[in-house]
């Protein structure tokens, strides 16, 4: 079994009026089956309200399934006594770095997680050091987090999660509030964690360019997984993605437009280099 396995997962948000009577039910997740293998880099796409974040919150037991279940490293999220183990296995980083940082000093903030796990002081310091090094923020260990840029703060948040030694890290739109440089920094850190440390990464994003290096992409709509495949397989389906309120990277769109206009470029181009090569060979 993979590190994460969802079986017929469903979740309903129930709205109640002042007297507690049910006013309405929204089925945010509607029968999701998916399996993620350890060490993969996974991307989840989907428009606002498609169920991405609700799904993510099941992966570390922040929400309880209405139907079906999720197994995280073999542990069933419905079992109340497994909650802490699950959260230690699958760590989560949210959109706004300012909501996740609590320490006055960077290294204190990163040490907060392991401290709460009851890790010995000496080991906490070791973990803080290695985590900050993994995201390239070690030089800033003595700084105050509120003096850092958005990208730096977000990397500190990620270090805080890594210090708990998770097998899997879920990033829920970690770059939505960042400038181009901050976005690059965070993505580089996420890829390094995946490739160097072998941590499974699940990235939820609205930026299509961030997805091209993923091993697998899941696309959600109305609480269901409607498309899945490699980035190349997904991004050849330009029209379908547009119907799902999504997009493709600029280079993919340009290649697609050129193909429509009659140039013989291959489908599903993902990088600048691929497009340049394709056009060069056409020129000959």
């Amino acid at each position: 079994m993979g590190i994460i396995k969802a079986v017929q997962l469903a979740f309903e948000y129930i709205r109640r009026d002042e007297d507690g009577n049910v006013e309405g039910i929204t089925r945010a997740i509607d029968g999701v089956d998916l399996e993620i293998k350890e060490g993969q880099f996974i991307a989840v796409l989907g428009h606002n309200g498609s169920g991405k974040s609700t799904l993510a919150k099941h992966l570390n037991a922040l929400l309880h399934p209405t139907e079906g279940t999720v197994y995280v490293d073999g542990k069933d999220v419905r079992e109340a006594d497994k909650v802490w183990e699950i959260r230690q296995t699958a760590g989560m980083v949210f959109q706004n770095p300012d909501n996740q940082i609590i320490g006055q000093v960077v290294e204190e903030d990163v040490g907060f997680g392991p401290e709460n796990l009851g890790v010995e002081t000496k080991e906490i310091w070791e973990r803080v050091e290695e985590s900050l090094k993994a995201v390239g923020m070690y030089e800033y260990r003595k700084h105050s987090p509120n003096k850092l840029s958005g990208g730096q703060k977000q990397r500190v948040s990620i270090a805080g999660v890594i210090a708990m030694h998770p097998k899997c890290i879920i990033l829920d739109e970690p770059t939505a509030m960042l400038d181009p440089n901050g976005r690059k920094e965070v993505l580089r850190a996420a890829r390094a964690l995946n490739q160097v440390e072998g941590i499974t990464v699940i990235l939820i994003t609205h930026y299509m360019e961030e997805v091209i290096h993923a091993d697998k992409v899941f696309v959600m709509d109305q609480g269901k997984v409607v498309l899945q495949g490699t980035p190349r397989e997904i991004f050849t389906r330009v029209e379908e993605l547009r119907k799902l309120r999504l997009d493709v990277p600029q280079v993919t769109e340009l290649a697609y437009e050129l193909k429509k206009a009659g140039l013989d470029v291959p489908e599903g181009i993902l990088t600048k280099e691929e497009l340049v090569e394709a056009l060069k060979s056409l020129k000959k």
Partner: protein, 282 residues
């Protein structure tokens, strides 16, 4: 309804050990009717600058004129200024509070002291302009999706009928279609009513597609101020200050290096397509 900034500096914590200059000697003219993109990395001074434009912050040095009048003079009507220069903050949906969408949008014009009838006409118009559907007018704003909430919040500012509309990252956290819809609505509004729009954004692709003029800030100074084409030509300079050009600009640059005879002054996909196609027709 033009804005003019003369030698504006803003120093946070002036006269203390922690003084930080967020704006240094900004000179800027914003004539009526332009669609301006304001870009710069986090901490470059963008937000400080826009908060000066409707008098939320006062400059430490220098003057700001709205239609030729100094907005920081004692006799200046600051309330009038705030209704004319509308500011939509980041994540404006966090400011929604009323029971229904319609009432929320009425809040601003009601506080201008307008008659109920006028208030409602304005709210209706603003909601339409922001692209909110009629069936949502009497729903609770908290039941809407993220993109819809954001439209309602923007409508709240539009109902003040501003002549200058400043939006601080209006598309952060929205899906691609939501981004296009909101920016498309704003562009349409700007064309139809001739208002000035200042768009603060981290998305170079969006800025390239929608604006007429780009102002680039770094360390509290304006380092570039020109049309998108001219600004993105300086992509190396943009990279030095933590920004970038749209991906298409880089594609064209690489093609040029490979000996393709085309203009690299391209900032949108449509332009790139035309350039490449014409290159193959020859």
């Amino acid at each position: 309804m033009s804005l003019l900034l003369e030698g504006v500096s803003h120093i946070y914590g002036e006269d203390t050990n922690l003084a930080v200059a967020a704006l240094c000697n900004i000179n800027l003219e914003i004539p009526e009717g332009q669609f301006i993109g304001l870009i710069g990395h986090t901490g470059s001074g963008k937000s400080t600058l826009i908060q000066h434009l409707n008098g939320l912050l006062q400059p430490s040095h220098g003057k700001i004129y709205f239609n030729g009048k100094d907005i920081n003079e004692k006799s200046f009507d600051r309330k009038e200024l705030r209704s004319k220069v509308g500011l939509v903050f980041q994540y404006p949906e966090h400011q929604l509070f009323e029971v229904t969408v319609f009432q929320d949008v009425c809040f601003g014009p009601k506080n201008l002291g307008l008659e109920q009838k006028e208030v409602e006409i304005r709210a209706y118009k603003a909601l339409k302009q922001a692209g909110v559907k009629e069936e949502q007018f009497y729903q609770s704003p908290f039941e809407l999706s993220g993109g819809q909430k954001r439209r309602v919040a923007i409508a709240g500012v539009l109902a003040m009928e501003p002549r200058v509309l400043i939006l601080d990252e209006p598309t952060a956290g929205l899906d691609p279609a939501g981004r296009d819809e909101i920016l498309g609505q704003i562009k349409k509004l700007q064309k139809e009513t001739g208002i000035t729009v200042i768009l603060v954004s981290h998305s170079m692709e969006d800025v390239a597609e929608y604006v007429d003029r780009i102002i680039v800030m770094n360390k509290g100074k304006i380092i570039l101020d020109n049309t998108p084409k001219e600004v993105f030509k300086e992509y190396k300079c943009l990279e030095e200050v933590g920004l970038a050009a749209p991906q298409v600009t880089y594609i064209m640059e690489s093609l040029k290096e490979e000996g393709f005879m085309l203009s690299a002054e391209v900032t949108t996909i449509e332009e790139a397509k035309q350039e490449i196609l014409s290159c193959f027709k020859k």
